[in-house]
């Protein structure tokens, strides 16, 4: 393998890791916000009843 293969392998690894981490984080946050919203609605519903 030439130097450029190693260089681009390293950049590919960095990009994949950072992109996946960002997507995972945004998705985790969106899911948590949605679940908390649903729980709050359910909680309020219980109080009203």
């Amino acid at each position: 393998m030439s130097d450029l293969h190693y260089l681009f392998s390293a950049f590919f690894v960095i990009w994949c890791a950072l992109l996946l981490l960002m997507l995972h984080t945004v998705n985790k946050l969106a899911r948590a916000e949605k679940e908390l919203k649903q729980l709050n609605i359910a909680d309020r519903g219980t109080v009203q009843k």
Binding site: M1, D3, L4, Y6, L7, S9, A10, F11, V13, I14, A17, L18, L21, M22, T25, V26, K28, L29, A32, E33, E35, L36, L39, D43
Partner: protein
């Protein structure tokens, strides 16, 4: 609403900085005389190491605060920083061998810098495992806080290893004054890469801290 907008701007800015850092590292920076193009890995290998050290420092400080005050928010911050620190130290351990193979003719050698970095990675993997496998979450958080403080001892050891022991690893470029052994054209791309990685780390830390806090709230509501 305002905070969501500013978070989106922060995400955009950090990715823009990362793309610019790639431009400076791959195109604008001069080619190193002895190592050639492979040396360009340096612009991401060193910032990844710096960010992981910063993350583990946050783990240490947040763990001390958690033990002193007992507020769960400090524990969440320590956990979040540990998760990110592990990712960045993994990047260091992956990009290092890709740099080493063409330069040293081997992917890995058990010299002081590489071994201490590997131990650092193992330490924080153990930190997350400890949290995951303790049945009582409060007890787990306390154990993890002690572990997070003790684990940080290895960080200065990793940093100083190339000064204290004879190693294959290149000489230090940070903290040696005047940009260390860097050529003038390499200093700006390097500083910019440090800035871009730090900005991305801060963005990820804010986002993940928020997500982990919400998850903790959900668990508390469900356990009522």
């Amino acid at each position: 609403m305002q905070s969501v907008k500013s978070l989106k701007i922060l995400i955009l800015l950090s990715w823009l900085a990362i793309i610019l850092a790639h431009y400076f590292a791959l195109i604008a920076a001069p080619t190193e005389r002895t190592m050639g193009d492979i040396q360009r890995i340096f612009y991401f290998h060193v910032p990844s190491a710096w960010v992981s050290f910063l993350a583990f420092f946050i783990v240490c400080v947040a763990s001390i605060q958690y033990l002193r005050r007992g507020e769960p928010s400090w524990d969440t911050l320590a956990r979040t920083a540990a998760e990110l620190g592990i990712l960045f130290i993994t990047l260091v351990l992956l990009t290092g061998p890709l740099w080493a193979k063409p330069v040293w003719n081997t992917f890995w050698t058990w010299d002081a810098r590489l071994t201490t970095s590997f131990i650092l990675w193992l330490t924080y993997i153990a930190y997350l495992m400890l949290r995951g496998y303790t049945l009582d979450p409060e007890r787990g958080a306390r154990f993890a806080a002690v572990f997070g403080i003790i684990g940080f001892v290895n960080v200065p050891l990793v940093y100083m290893s190339i000064r204290w022991w004879r190693t294959l690893h290149p000489a230090p470029v940070i903290g040696e004054g005047g940009g260390g052994g860097l050529a003038p054209g390499m200093i700006f791309p390097f500083i910019f890469a440090l800035f871009a990685f730090t900005l991305l780390f801060i963005t990820l830390l804010i986002l993940r801290y928020r997500a982990n806090t919400l998850e903790r709230c959900i668990k508390e509501i469900k356990s009522r």
